[in-house]
């Protein structure tokens, strides 16, 4: 739950805010309970939560930036850093664990040279373990973007990664 993220400084690169405004316009009279849906949609649009987009949310909703930061860092779904083109979610649920997920995780780190929560230097992959994908019958399983890869072996994992 406590992610080791650093708050981007004010000098962080700005992004074009067109998509951010499009999201905010859907929340006409935004209330505090809209914060999480707003953040989800902005992350969907940009792949992460850019600093200047967060400032726009503050302007629009009057929720202080510090509060927004508190919410972002609490939930595993949100990222303050740009992410890779593809997200690899490796299931670490119980069924996957007893069927060899630890070996799959090791293989990914070996092939991509990144640890959990990191992004490859070429921004191709972001690698994150998830608690359970709820597809235990596929164990061990990983998801790359919206696609499931089930009944993995170490060899199959490597083949799948190299196919991207």
């Amino acid at each position: 739950m406590h992610k080791g993220v650093t708050l981007q400084t004010e000098g962080a690169p700005s992004v074009d805010l067109t998509m951010c405004h499009a999201v905010l316009s859907k929340f006409n009279r935004a209330t505090p309970s809209d914060l999480i849906p707003i953040l989800q949609q902005i992350q969907d649009a940009y792949g992460y939560l850019p600093r200047n987009a967060l400032e726009e949310i503050t302007d629009r909703t009057r929720i202080p930036l510090s509060k927004i930061y508190g919410v972002i860092t609490f939930y595993a779904q949100f990222s303050l850093e740009p992410r890779g083109k593809h997200t690899i979610k490796v299931c670490t649920g119980t069924a996957c664990h007893i069927k060899g997920a630890p070996d799959i995780k090791k293989k990914i780190t070996e092939v991509l040279q990144i640890s959990e929560g990191e992004t490859t230097q070429d921004f191709k992959f972001t690698y994150e373990p998830v608690a359970c994908l709820g597809t235990c019958f596929l164990a061990p399983v990983m998801m790359i973007d919206d696609r499931y890869y089930g009944k993995l072996t170490v060899e199959k994992t490597e083949t799948v990664l190299k196919s991207y």
């Binding site: 739950m1 406590h2 209330t31 505090p32 309970s33 809209d34 914060l35 999480i36 849906p37 953040l39 989800q40 929720i63 508190g70 919410v71 609490f74 939930y75 595993a76 779904q77 949100f78 670490t92 649920g93 119980t94 069924a95 664990h97 007893i98 069927k99 060899g100 630890p102 070996d103 998830v130 608690a131 359970c132 994908l133 709820g134 597809t135 235990c136 019958f137 596929l138 164990a139 061990p140 399983v141 919206d146 499931y148 089930g150 009944k151 072996t153």
Partner: protein, 561 residues
């Protein structure tokens, strides 16, 4: 389509749907939710193309369904009215299924369910199905969840119609109380009593929340119900809202369940267009509106006060109770929170009466329970059985036993809040109380089978790592207790354990259990305590081992299913 203005409009609509039913039509039910991961959508596409090609559109219909239960054979399909069940179907099998099975009535052996060398083509003969009692899952896998008419024709929304036209809110509460229904999310609190508290709470505005934040690793029954039969949950919420006097509901769903969200959105839209949600439902004074909130990846949000904080747009941290949500919940108003499976039970009780429902189950636990069967077991999937069914029946009769030549070692029940049930308790009739007595909990119904290659200390460490990671950090006992227990377990698995470690673990476990603020911390130590209780020798062996061979090096190789 016009909105229904009276219960009779709904009834007439159902009759008109029934009259359109064509018994001569062959219907192929294909799971396109869980099975999607193994190519079910491609199979559907291939079927539709082939049917078109052979001009069979007025003879064969393809129905996209939710989970049919036997996930181990995914992608699966059922052919009605033949009653044939095929598994591991691929696109290339499609022309043959049509030409041989549907047009000539022949069985394709290789696609049939096989157990002990015997092939079983008919669903009703497969022990996985014949030993279950599917009442909550009755529609799951048998209807297209994206089409409200399929729910209505199977007596859908008849329960809310009955409640609105012939029951007072009080009698609905009493019906649920008398049925003995208990919360299926884990704690097993009597649902009727919860409803009564909220009903009697002071205030004009009351909320009803459906907790679909199914976070326990190894549990996927709520996902299946939301994906495969979303209207049953909506109807359960309508009945609950009518009983407690709520006009506004929220369904909180995990972000990791995109198909569930998609199906719920469609279901809500369709229910609104028919006037089954919104103002003056079926012409009564009762109005109810519903919205979906998506979680953002935090296990602790399954705890009710944390869930409420999350809906309010805050960090999902629990708060001390009292006040309970029944008096002060969402936005400070009286709030009732029920789990997905609990709500899906409600329409069944209202339609069939509490006497009927009470006849299923054990003395203290009524009705059925859905288990998500996974791990080292042949038939992984979703299983619904009456309370009181033994573990042996679930794992061996329905689950088909352990693959390979391995032996059953334990069943982990209740996820990170639960415990391991060893082989000596295989004949225990499962209900809320008996499971607790042996050191596990019913929990949400995750049931992970472990064979004799599994290290129990590693399992305890695994769950502790999960709890430590998901601890929100608000209260000290949970934040630090889980961390210290994890440190100790890690060093034991690395072969660096100390003599005093087991005593220390027990002490930490007691403190964390007693002093933590919410269920996460209060139950985090259960996997440790239950593995110490039954597998102390494994701990001692690791501690006494003098060489520094680490456990990770002797980790079991992945079992094949």
């Amino acid at each position: 389509m016009e909105k229904f203005k009276t219960p009779d409009d709904l009834h007439k609509f159902r009759k008109s749907l029934e009259s359109k039913h064509r018994p001569d039509m062959v219907r192929i039910f294909i799971c396109t939710t869980g099975c999607r991961a193994l190519g079910a959508e491609e199979v559907c596409k291939a079927f539709r193309a082939e049917i078109e090609k052979q001009s069979l559109t007025d003879k064969i219909e393809i129905v996209d369904t939710g989970c049919q239960g036997l996930c181990a054979r995914a992608p699966v399909l059922t052919i009605e009215p033949l009653g044939i069940f095929y598994g591991r179907v691929t696109e290339t099998d499609v022309p043959e299924i049509i030409s041989r099975t549907i047009l000539k009535g022949e069985i394709i052996e290789r696609l049939c369910y096989v157990e002990a060398g015997k092939r079983t083509p008919y669903l009703r003969d497969i022990p996985f199905y014949s030993k279950q009692k599917r009442i909550v899952l009755k529609n799951c896998g048998n209807i297209d969840p994206k089409n409200i008419n399929e729910y209505i024709v199977r007596n859908g929304y008849a329960a809310i119609s009955k409640a609105l036209s012939s029951l007072t809110p009080n009698s609905v509460v009493n019906e649920i109380k008398n049925s003995g229904l208990r919360g299926r999310g884990g704690a097993g609190f009597p649902t009727g009593n919860k409803w009564e508290f909220v009903k009697n709470a002071r205030g004009n505005i009351k909320y009803l929340i459906c907790n679909g934040d199914e976070g326990d690793p190894g549990a996927f029954m709520d996902r299946a119900v939301l994906e495969g039969d979303p209207h049953s949950v909506i109807e359960g919420m309508l009945i609950g809202a009518y009983a407690i006097g709520s006009r506004k509901g929220v369904i909180y769903v995990r972000a990791e369940y995109p198909i569930a969200v998609e199906h719920l959105k469609i279901a809500i839209e369709q229910a609104k267009s028919l006037g089954l949600l919104g103002e003056n439902i079926l012409g009564s004074n009762f109005s109810f509106d519903l919205e979906i909130k998506m979680g953002a990846g935090a296990f602790v949000c399954g705890e009710e006060t944390a869930l409420i904080a999350s809906i309010e747009g805050k960090r999902g941290m629990p708060r001390p109770r009292p006040p309970f949500p029944a008096t002060s919940g969402l936005w400070g108003k009286p709030t009732n929170i029920n789990n997905v499976e609990t709500l899906a039970n409600v329409p069944i009780i209202i339609l069939n009466g509490f006497e009927w429902y009470k006849s299923i189950g054990t003395e203290s636990s009524k009705g059925t329970k859905i288990f998500a069967l996974a791990g080292n077991v042949k038939n992984t999937g979703l299983v619904e059985v009456p309370m009181g069914t033994t573990l042996r029946e679930i794992v061996f009769d329905i689950g088909g036993g352990i693959p390979g030549r391995k032996k059953f070692k334990a069943a982990q029940m209740g996820g990170p809040s639960g415990g391991c049930v060893p082989a000596q308790h295989l004949d225990l009739p499962i209900d809320y109380e008996t499971v607790k007595e042996v050191g596990a909990i019913m929990g949400s119904g995750g049931l992970i089978v472990m064979d004799d290659s599994t290290s129990m200390v590693d399992i305890a460490r695994y769950f502790m790592e999960f709890c430590q990671d998901e601890s929100c950090g608000k209260c000290v006992p949970c934040r630090i207790g889980t961390k210290r227990m994890l440190d100790i377990l890690t060093r034991i698995t690395k072969g660096q354990g100390r003599k005093e470690d087991i005593g220390l673990l027990k002490e930490l476990a007691e403190v964390t259990k007693t002093a933590s603020l919410c269920g996460l911390g209060q139950t985090a130590a259960n996997p440790v305590l239950s593995t110490i209780r039954y597998y102390l020798n494994e701990y001692e062996e690791l501690i006494n081992k003098k060489d520094s061979q680490t456990l990770s090096q002797q980790n079991p190789t992945p079992a094949q299913s």
